[in-house]
């Protein structure tokens, strides 16, 4: 399913993979959260796997966007797991964060689905 700035794929058993596109603009969060929540409902998602493979660096704005998605997931009863974070992005985010992130992290999709 194509949404503005992202692509959603159902992996079965309630897992949905979110792949952000290059066009994703975290400053336009309000325009993206409603279509995302709607799509997750339509796909009967129980777990959202946010794939950060193509995201080289996570800045404060992008982290806010991730927290916003996490909050939407929590309200919708969906577990959010961030997967495939690149080492430089993890480093930058660890330096940036003041407390633990509100979402679970996994090395890859398989580990995330295995719990």
């Amino acid at each position: 399913m194509q949404l503005p700035g992202m692509h959603l794929t159902s992996l079965g058993a309630g897992s949905v993979l979110l792949e952000p596109a290059e066009a994703l603009d975290p400053s336009q969060q309000d325009d993206m959260v409603v279509p995302l929540a709607k799509s997750m409902q339509q796909m009967r998602a129980r777990q959202l796997l946010y794939d950060l493979k193509s995201v080289a660096v996570i800045d404060k704005l992008y982290f806010e966007w991730l927290c916003r998605v996490s909050a939407i997931c929590r309200i919708s009863g969906v577990e959010m797991v961030v997967v495939n974070i690149r080492p430089p992005a993890a480093y930058a985010l660890a330096v940036l964060m003041e407390k633990s992130p509100p979402f679970r992290c996994a090395l890859n999709v398989d580990r995330a689905r295995a719990g």
């Binding site: 660890a94 992290c105 090395l107």
Partner: protein, 294 residues
Amino acid sequence: MAKKETPAKSVNQLLIEQLMTRVATVSEMIESRGAKIFGQSNLLSIEEINDYSLEFLELFTILLQAGDHIDRRGHEFKALMQFFKNLSQQILVRGGTLDEFVRYVQFLQSVFIEMLEVDSGLTFDESRHILLLLANVFNDIVLDVFHVYLTEKESTILAQQEELRHTSTPITEIWDGVLTLPIIGTLDSSRTMIVMEKMLSRIEADRARVVVIDVTGVQAIDSQVSHHLIQMIRAVGLMGASAILTGIRPEIARAITSLNIDLSMVATRSTLSDGLKEAFRLLGVTVSAAADNR
């Protein structure tokens, strides 16, 4: 009829004349002294010493011939400086010391001063000007060589520091999916960056699930070090792995509590062995003694 006065010779011309009349003696003195300083310690071969001595005399003569005064920005002066830089680098690379080199440069200067003593035809003023010129040129040489020496030393120290940083944090996979990271010494910002970069890459490459960070070798902890530790633990978590902190000595524990550092989000164990057991528990691995060893 008035006598036509011959124009006064420049200091450079006077030195060239002296050098030309005694070139053989000067060359021989420089070679023999060079052999004494560098040859005995096998820093340079006799052929090299002779070649360098000739090259020095040639470059010095070219410098004097370039004009009535020494032009420090001229090519001739730069060529002479470059010659000494190369020579000093070669000597330092071969294990020589700066002292030996400075003694050699001072000796070269003294050869020219000795020539002045021999030549009684020079006036006091001419001798003074020649002495000043020699002192300026040879002081510049020593200063330049000293800069080269300092730069070489600094780059060696930096390279050693870099090497030490890389070897002081060995990351080992002690079990499938379990990495250990012993930290020895202090954690400053630059070292944290190197350690984190290596550790996160290893988590990705080895698909590690647990990282045991052992701080037994950390001598002291302050708010900055603890902040870096927490950053490391968070980064491990972001990669989808679990971090276990081990080896917190009583002094370090006291420092952590007095600094009000919150480690509640971190799994801690007293020893590396306990940390490994915790890693096994997280992985669901059970280790038991073989039947015949019971």
